[in-house]
Amino acid sequence: MAFIRVGPEDFDLGQEMAALRGEAGDIGAVASFIGIVRGAAGAPITAMTLEHYPGMTERAIARMAAEAEMRFALSACRIIHRTGCIPIAGQIVLVLTAAGHRKAALEATSFLIDWLKVAAPFWKKEHLAGGMERWVDAQAADDSAAARWQSS
């Protein structure tokens, strides 16, 4: 069973790694991904607000985590997705996977972040310098990144 947390609190990679190792038992590989608020080229972003659909978010993430655990034979998995206002350079999302071998851990991490991008109900709003704000548009590239896991 994957550990899943959705909420405003920040996370510490070292602590999450220690927790994962405690859950995972005998493993050979741990992979992680962290998404970070980035100042986009050309548009001076100062912060990002993440809105989500409480309840559905956790269900959607639990479902994709269960699929990843089975498909890649994961020994443990932790997914943390923050909500609310996050300043530039702040952490948004963590995917952490443990498996017997490197291929499973790395592929499960890619699989999970690709699916989080298209199937977990989060919406990002960018705050720009000068008080402007705008909702981020969905990327067609995200749909195709997730779709590649269906054909393979």
């Binding site: 269900r59 919406w123 548009d137 969905a138 995200d142």
Partner: protein, 85 residues
């Protein structure tokens, strides 16, 4: 029948509403029919909800389509394409 509606992101902002309970007349029993009924309420519903190419829905926290059935007591959400992660 009575259903609960949720709106997220720019839909919520443009409708000025995060959540409402509505009583639907007989025959409004799919997501698509609900969208039509809501649009007929006038602005801002008509304009915001007829941009259907950009609107996604969920029924009881599962992704839905226009043909998805709705029943009394359902929680139906409308939102833009997802941009998390």
């Amino acid at each position: 029948m009575v259903v609960r509606l949720l709106y997220f992101a720019w839909l919520r902002e443009r409708l000025g509403c995060a959540e409402e309970e509505v009583t639907l007349p007989a025959g409004v029993d799919t997501v698509g029919a609900l969208l039509g009924w809501l649009s007929a309420r006038g602005e801002p519903y008509r304009q915001v909800l007829t941009e259907t190419a950009r609107i996604r829905s969920a029924v009881n926290q599962d992704f839905a389509s226009d043909s998805s059935p709705i029943r009394a007591g359902d929680e139906i959400a409308f939102f833009p394409p997802i941009t998390g992660g």
